[in-house]
């Protein structure tokens, strides 16, 4: 790890300085902990202390995103190799993840052979199951038919579903279908109605983890980094004490806390994209070869029962 967050948090309050540092360095291996909706940043020297106090957590899973199998442009000419490195990183975790979430853009061009390669590489992940949601690159040409047949079996509508693990309610949403001219990501009426019903019977103390490809908060609408009807979806989750939203799409780590909701985006395993507004477009960012693996990686997520805590460790492939 090249960079550290300087410890500067208090036990009970929100530490704004630490939070901003966490935002800035999350991509290089920061350790961010969310307790009761409050995000805290820890210096890496304190990770051991935190782990000793809290244990590894009751539920440990990994998020990967944006594999873009088939992409072969200068930003990364071997995305299969970097996905394999991400798999090696998952398999080297001290606690094997209960499952893996892939938050979309499995492929670059929705080609059958790209889905084949993705499937083959992920077969070697040491975990019980991989859950997927599609990215816009997985539903080209056929509105996601191929994706649904191979990776969304049993899901509703365009590929949305929910499941429960250790008392946590997980919801996989699809916001990459039927996009409208001039707009952002879209969930659509059918999915919103399903979501409202899906959480209806749950106790407000149930921790909720939502995952979807395009961010469900306005990261940077100018680049299409947001979802038009996400506010409607989040309104159904208002009564819950702890809501975490995990997204991909923007190929970099970002976090935001808004009331009871914590938003987090993961790195890509394929290529980085520029920070909002720092380039003419959100196209693939070409960095020096030795820097690439410091900008790609996985997110290791730990949930601690009863404490409403979610700890996310973003680990680059290298550095």
């Amino acid at each position: 790890m090249a960079k550290y967050i300087i410890p500067g948090y208090s036990e009970d309050g929100i530490d704004r300085r630490g939070f901003l540092k966490c935002m800035a360095w999350a991509g290089t291996g920061a350790f961010c902990v969310i307790k009761g909706g409050v995000l805290k940043s820890y210096g890496l020297s304190q990770v051991a202390r935190y782990a000793a106090v809290a244990g590894k957590g009751d539920l440990s899973f990994v998020q990967i995103s944006d594999s873009h199998i088939g992409f072969n442009k200068p930003a990364n000419t071997d995305v299969t190799a970097t996905l394999q490195e991400a798999v090696a990183k998952i398999n080297a975790l001290p606690t094997p993840p209960a499952f893996v979430l892939h938050t979309g853009d499995l492929t670059h061009l929705s080609k059958p052979e790209e889905f084949d390669t993705l499937d083959q590489v992920l077969k070697s992940v040491k975990t019980s199951r991989i859950f997927y949601v599609p990215g816009e690159h997985d539903v080209l040409n056929d509105d996601g038919k191929q994706y649904l047949e191979r990776f969304g079996k049993g899901a509703r509508g365009g590929g949305w579903y929910s499941f429960d693990q250790k008392g946590v309610h997980f919801i996989g949403l699809v916001n990459v279908l039927n996009l409208k001219a001039g707009g952002l990501g879209t969930l659509g009426q059918e999915q919103l109605e399903w979501l409202e019903k899906d959480v209806e019977g749950l106790k407000s103390s149930t921790p909720i983890i939502v995952f979807a490809h395009i961010p469900l908060w306005a990261v940077y609408p100018e680049w299409g980094w947001g979802t038009d009807d996400s506010a409607q979806a989040l309104s159904y989750l208002k009564r819950f004490g702890s809501v975490s939203v995990l997204n991909g799409h923007i190929h970099q780590v970002m976090q935001k806390v808004e009331g009871n909701v914590t938003f987090h985006t993961a790195m890509s395993t394929a290529f980085p994209q520029p920070q909002p507004g720092t380039a003419p477009s959100p196209g693939p960012l070409k960095v020096p070869a030795e820097k690439l693996r410091g900008l790609l990686g996985i997110s290791d997520v730990n949930y601690l029962q009863g404490k409403h805590a979610l700890a996310i460790i973003d680990s680059p492939l290298q550095g």
């Binding site: 061009l109 080209l140 001039g182 299409g224 003419p280 477009s281």
Partner: protein
């Protein structure tokens, strides 16, 4: 035997000429489509997630060609479902002939923030 040899030589020479001539013709032939100047005039390029020009005015009967010069795939889809390109990877292009006057708005169905317009007079 001598006749056969002669015939073979002639045939070989003819074949060589044919192959060489064909490849030379292929090499010289310009890209399919309208002549260069027309092609440029009615071409929309896709760079940095935008259509350039964003609005293009053409006479009725014009074939407009879109070329994707980005590192990521894009599409050209009519907002009113009048035309729809396949997914265009880097350097791939799509052409559509506009026969009727009117304003045709379109967007990229993968990155819907990208919009453009063709006005047919």
């Amino acid at each position: 035997m001598r006749d056969l040899l002669t015939f073979s030589s002639v045939a070989l020479a003819a074949m060589l000429l044919l192959v060489f001539g064909l490849s030379a013709a292929t090499y010289r032939r310009p890209a399919a489509g309208p002549p260069e100047d027309l092609n440029d005039k009615y071409r929309v390029t896709i760079d940095n997630f935008s259509f350039t020009p964003a609005s293009l005015t053409v006479p009725a009967g014009t074939t407009v060609t879109w070329v994707n010069r980005d590192d990521v795939p894009h599409t050209v889809v009519s907002t009113e479902k009048k035309f729809k390109s396949p997914v265009l990877d880097t350097d791939e292009q799509f052409s559509y002939k506009f026969t009727d006057p009117g304003a045709y708005e379109y967007f990229c169905s993968i990155h819907p923030k990208m919009t453009g317009k063709v006005v047919v007079q």
